[in-house]
């Protein structure tokens, strides 16, 4: 099995995501580097959606997959660079002001044991994802779509991925271009899209899910590390034993990390839940500007991963909106909560109109 190029893809995704998360959402670093990466990934996905949707809709002889590749390949390094500069400036400023509070991670024996169990469980899941193949029929569509766009094909969602024949623009799928993101990675790193889908995606995305659960644990147990690590162990086992049905999102996480719906169920939705939890935990219900921007990127990521993701995100946001009334939030906050629905409503409108 080739290791270097797929490993480079995973490192690039995680590093770029981390730098973006740390640079633009610096306060989140306290919740762990992994959580910063989860947040950065939302920015990467949100930006990809914004670039790819107009290209898909208005594609012609001159505009196509190469347009997305060219724009995204310039935009991402620019965002990462900007994030890096911001991080450096913040660090320099902190040093100047003498603010050097850096929490030392000191663990007692029990915490080390629980943390080791947790890492062993995650490692086992990654091992299974990389060295075992899971046969899923939907790959014939999604992975083949990534494969076709990873080569010289420029027309997006025109060819039937099952056979290769030209079928016309498939809007039902085209408005959730997660496979195009995989195709982009495949083109840039020159790794077969099947390898990117089946090997790189689980290695990159499964740890992101656990980083989100880690942040949730941090929130729930307010710094009690033993509780948090026990919680994480239980979550890892809960996920591994979700095979009671084909339908829980956790099954998708361990079996089909290459499909957009996996990212929806195990990254977008848990992160949105975390944000709602975070917002709810304040004495007064309010969405901070940074949280607002982050939720917007989460909603865009929801749209990228699945068309139905728009509906799921809207259901969650509507619940959040109702909750703002229950908590007697001020009118401005209620308007902010309602406005979060705009990206997904726009995507659904496109779906209906096109």
């Amino acid at each position: 099995m080739k290791i270097v190029s797929p490993a480079l893809i995973c490192i690039s995704i995680l590093l770029a995501s981390y730098l973006i998360g740390r640079g633009f959402f610096g306060h989140l670093v306290k919740k762990g580097a992994g959580f910063a990466a989860a947040v950065g990934l939302m920015v990467l996905w949100g930006v990809f959606l914004v670039i790819s949707i107009p290209v898909i809709i208005f594609q012609n002889d001159k505009i196509g997959m190469h347009t997305i590749v060219n724009i995204y390949a310039v935009t991402v390094p620019a965002i990462v660079l900007a994030a890096l500069i911001l991080s450096i400036l913040k660090t320099v400023r902190k040093r100047k002001t003498g603010d050097k509070k850096k929490e030392q991670l000191v663990l007692d024996n029990k915490e080390i044991i629980y943390l080791s169990i947790f890492f062993a469980l995650v490692f086992y899941q990654l091992f299974k994802a990389v060295f075992y193949a899971y046969a899923d029929g939907d790959d014939a569509f999604y992975v083949a779509m990534s494969q076709s766009l990873s080569g010289e094909l420029d027309a997006l969602y025109i060819n039937n991925p099952y056979t290769g024949v030209i079928d016309g623009l498939m809007y039902r799928y085209a408005l959730a271009p997660f496979p195009v993101w995989i195709a982009f990675l495949s083109r840039i790193f020159k790794v077969n899209a099947a390898t990117v889908s089946h090997v790189c995606m689980p290695i990159a995305l499964i740890p992101i899910t656990y980083a989100i659960y880690n942040a949730i644990g941090e929130k729930l147990f307010a710094g009690n590390k033993e509780k948090k690590y026990i919680f994480l162990c239980l979550v890892a086992v809960f996920i591994m034993f979700s095979g009671y049905s084909f339908y829980p999102s956790e099954v998708f996480m361990l079996t089909r990390a290459r499909q957009g719906k996996e990212a929806l169920g195990n990254i977008v939705i848990p992160l949105l839940f975390y944000e709602m939890l975070d917002t709810a935990s304040g004495d007064e219900w309010s969405i901070t500007p940074k949280n607002y921007i982050l939720i917007i990127f989460i909603t865009l990521s929801g749209a990228l991963t699945s068309v139905f993701g728009n509906i799921l995100v809207l259901v969650a946001l509507f619940g959040n909106f109702i909750y703002s009334f229950m908590r007697h939030a001020v009118l401005k906050e209620k308007i902010k909560a309602a406005s979060l629905a705009l990206p997904n409503l726009l995507m659904l409108a496109l779906y209906v109109l096109l």
Binding site: A133, A140, Q147, S197, S245, G319
Partner: protein, 267 residues
């Protein structure tokens, strides 16, 4: 009509819930954890997010407005994904963790093992199913498919191959320069379509002249069949020559087809 919409919608939603619930007791465990949270002395916001939010999600799932969608749309089975909004893992594991910390410190490790056992008993290990097999390569695609694709590859153009049903899902995951006369949609039952050529090639005894005509109609120079496939007449009598075998598959090439090079002599 309204009655039909209600009956069909109600049946579909309850079936969907039952399928999501599956064979284990994990959903029941979640509901017990939610009830526990409702009666526990926790922060109000936690009770809101764990209890009220879960009730809200379940209400959205069961709301009859979906009945209309179910009646008119064939892809209604995806509605189970609304249940993905339930914070099942968070609530169950939070309640278990807090319960463990009510135990004396000395027996907490035993409690931890008990909690793990409870999750294992209520669920079912994801990896225990027939769909997992050791990966044969870095593509997670059967070696035979990779070999078939490499064999038929012609630089700079597409080539079409007919393959047995079990390979339909894999070929174009490996390379999309290989086209298929019919794809996975023909084996998807009610959600897919039918294809005459597939029916011909899946017969107990393949009608050779009809199959050859069908392959030529679809501009398909390559035919891959299981090595135990039976033909009414020899393929070679109709211009299809044996090329090679991969694993349990035999490959034939239409000698009358132009595939960009004089392939038979080239070999």
């Amino acid at each position: 009509m309204v009655k039909e919409i209600i009956i069909r919608g109600f049946t579909a939603i309850t079936d969907s819930y039952r399928e999501f619930q599956g064979k284990g007791l994990m959903v029941t465990l979640f509901l017990v954890a939610v009830v526990f949270m409702a009666y526990s002395r926790r922060d109000k916001y936690l009770k809101d997010m764990f209890v009220k939010y879960s009730i809200y999600v379940l209400a959205v799932f069961f709301v009859p407005i979906w009945y209309v969608y179910i009646y008119y749309k064939s892809d209604y089975e995806i509605l189970y994904r609304i249940l993905w909004l339930l914070p099942m893992g968070v609530v169950i594991c939070y309640v278990l963790t807090e319960t463990l910390f009510k135990l004396p410190e000395k027996i907490r490790p035993l409690g931890f093992i008990g909690a793990l056992a409870l999750l294992m008993l209520c669920g079912r290990l994801v990896y225990v199913n027939g769909y997992f097999t050791p990966a044969q390569n870095e593509y997670h695609i059967p070696d035979s498919v990779v070999e078939i694709c490499e064999e038929v590859n012609v630089d700079g153009r597409e080539i079409r191959v007919a393959v047995p049903d079990e390979l339909l899902s894999y070929v174009r995951q490996y390379t999309t320069t290989v086209y298929l006369p019919y794809g996975r949609e023909t084996i998807m039952g009610e959600y897919g379509g039918v294809n005459e050529l597939r029916d011909i090639l899946n017969a107990d005894v393949i009608d050779t002249p009809v199959a050859v005509d069908g392959l030529r109609e679809y501009d398909t120079p390559y035919l891959v069949v299981r090595n135990d496939a039976r033909f009414s007449e020899s393929l070679s009598d109709f211009g299809f020559v044996y090329v090679t075998s991969f694993d349990i598959y035999d490959m034939y090439l239409d000698s009358e087809a132009y595939i960009g090079i004089d392939y038979i002599n080239y070999r």
